[in-house]
Amino acid sequence: MTSFEAVIGLEVHAQLLTASKIFCSCAVSVGGEPNTRTCPVCLGLPGALPVLNAEVVRLAVRAGLGTGCAIQPTSVFARKNYFYPDLPKGYQITQAELPICLDGQLTLDDGKVARIQRIHLEEDAGKSIHGDSGTRVDLNRAGTPLVEIVGHPDLRSADEAVAYLRELRGILVTLGVCDGNMEEGSLRCDANVSVRPLGQDAFGTRVEIKNMNSFRSVRDAIGYEIDRQVGLIADGARVVQETRLWNMDLARTESMRSKEEAADYRYFPDPDLPPLHLDPAWLAAQRADLPELPAARKARYQQALALDARTAAWLVEEPARAVAFDQAVAEAPALAAPFAAFLMTQVQAQLQRSARPWPELAAAMPALLATCGKWRGGQLSNKMLTELLQAAFADPARTLADALAHAAAQAGAVVSDDGALEPVLDGVLAQFPAEVAKYQAGQRQLTGFFVGQVMRALGGKADAKAITALLARKLGG
């Protein structure tokens, strides 16, 4: 049987983090009463003209610089013509032949380079809300600034596609270009998927998948689509060029429209907007203004802070997390690696069960670092730590930082002085003479057993290191 290879390219739409829309001064925001965030320009009233928002250009250029693109000194806005109720002018202003950025690339974790064809600016359409009494149109979103980032078909699996999207999202969020929220639609991903027999150069027939609003959807939809196409070919059928929607509930892609019905968009330069020329000095300043990008940050974590690859990747994946981590460990670099591991395991476990939002967690970083330090220093036992974190994360009345302080006070101190530990240890040794004998015969792995027994006797609030040291002294180390 023939083996198949998938060929995948992503088209990502990222909503730019500007205060106002791309061609008018209306506020960009999620929600609001329908059609209240509108003006003659974004409503497409007769005589209204678009005027480009300079901040939009700055953010698109940052996106291009962050993905290694060549920023184009001149780019041109074009009209994409089609009729739809949520498209007020009957055309979308976008960039066609001459986009603002060309030829970038992303390096994935495994070292694979995935090329970016182009990044162009465009305006979003409004929303059609389909209901029982018919379709209603909300134009609050019309004119929201977007960049579309078009990747080459360089990806070969659903996992690679997800890795590409994660890398891209990390860059856009780090640069302040986009908030990266896929659920709310500020980061949207369409995938072009085809399959071909392994070793064949020519591409197979391409299917575009839309409606994937999480990383999981992207992975599942592409995986499903690859299997579907391979199945068709194996059955002697043929893949039809079309657009398919991911149905998350039924876990399958469904046909939306075929290429035969595809529109002729009649692109032409928008005569209302002069070509966009970028000043070289301004562009140089933008280039100098870039922060540390996720790839560099990950490398630094591994090299300078001795984090393992998995922990470094986890931290970097959410740029806000990495920034807060950096700030917290700036004063205590020696704690960086254990603190990162602490965040990824103990804290992450709590986070998944609680409703604490990230900004609060970022604000609590110093308190978390202090907690981690106490635990590492033996002032908190494992059990105490778990209980403390549980109590703090479940404390709705306090901010996380305050809740941590409060829980720490409640937890009290570990028993670590020999005077208090010795009678307890003596009791344990008297209770388990056989184990004492084995230990003295060289079975040092029984240390854990004795420490555990002492812990149990002290309700978990004992310093394991102190017990270990005491045990060694008593039984001869």
Binding site: L45, P46, L49, P50, F83, K89, Y91, F268, P271, D272
Partner: protein
Amino acid sequence: MTATARTEACLGQIAARDAELGAFLHVATDAALARAAALDAQTTPPGPLHGLPIAVKDNIAVAGQPLTAGSRMLAGYLPPRDATVVARLLAAGAVLVGKTNLDEFGMGSSTERSGFGPTRNPLDPARVPGGSSGGSAAAVAADMAWAALGTDTGGSIRQPAAFCGLAGLKPTYGRVSRSGVVAYASSLDQVGPLARTVRDVARVYAVLAGADPLDATSADVPVTPVQWREDLAGLRIGVAREHLDAAEGLDPAIHARITAALAALQARGATIVPVTLPHTRHGIAAYYLVATAEASANLSRYDGLRYGQRTDRPPTLDALYTRSRGEALGDEVQRRILLGTFALSAGFQDAFYLKACRVRRKIAEDFQTAWHVCDLLLGPTSPVAPWLLGEKVTDPLAMYLMDAFTVGPSLAGLPALSVPVGVDAQRLPIGAQLIGRPFDEATLLAVGDVLQRAFATEAA
């Protein structure tokens, strides 16, 4: 004379003549009188257009007054904001008397293509006033306004000015804001004034001109005041053979008047320089491809959804679009949308739209070459005198050919001024077109003023 007296005089003329002429789509009687009274009571220094009654072409938004662009599609539409040009007129103290008729969306050369009936030429009501700013020209020619705003895409200010014996200026593309002006062809549309004299045109132009943050295509080029002249020593006036001696279908009477105009300017010290604009004959084709292509997109917003006319109970979304547009847009508008859509279509765009853009550049280069040897160009505005209503309306191509001399400067973005230079044997007015360098309206107006006064002297 008070603002109220001027305004009452215009409103009186409208009451007396407009039922016959059809120059206005909306007369703002109460608003105009209230405004005039307020201006008469004003104690602050008067603006440059203080108390002067001005009519506004109905494809330019005046807040609170209907805006139709001559189309049934927009019947009942009220714009929320003033166009920038209207705001500037008001700031200068003008009184706005009403909105004038036009060929639907500016698409026509006779004002017979309005969705609300034609406008007639006040000088001979059997004849057309020109178009598409025919309502504006008729309003001024019949003393229903002191001046009027028009828009010019391929000649729509200059040709009606010529047909009604007025001066009319199409400024350089980018000189005047298009914000609030219903778009026909965005890369060509410009707002400009029509008035009885070049000096009055200059007075309104000075108020309109200048960059506007609401229009990205408006140019930030300083507006230089006009230096009025008596003699033209040192001035080189180019005459393109394609616009005069080698022009096809040029009325001999018009040829004679243009020759007389050149002689008059020569007598005042100007040098006449023969030039050539070799791509002139491709101008009409290039214009009607570029303009209709842009129009096909510009008019997509009139879909019956958010405002304007919507068909009754459409069974499907497609039916809503096609029926609303089919019912409310006129034949000429539909023809141009179809032409433009075709010109942009996949497989045809290169042969039509893109080729037209290349021709447009060639036409612009023709003018750039001419500027090496002359300071401005002079020729006829229209090849023929105003025709009879109905005479050409069934033959779109014949109508398009009437724009032969005006589309060139439009495609090149150049300022052009039509100046009345007398009448033909039937007492029908003849206009001369002066074409200037980019943003050099000042020279155009100064020479136009000399020319107009030369003929006034001659007539006296």
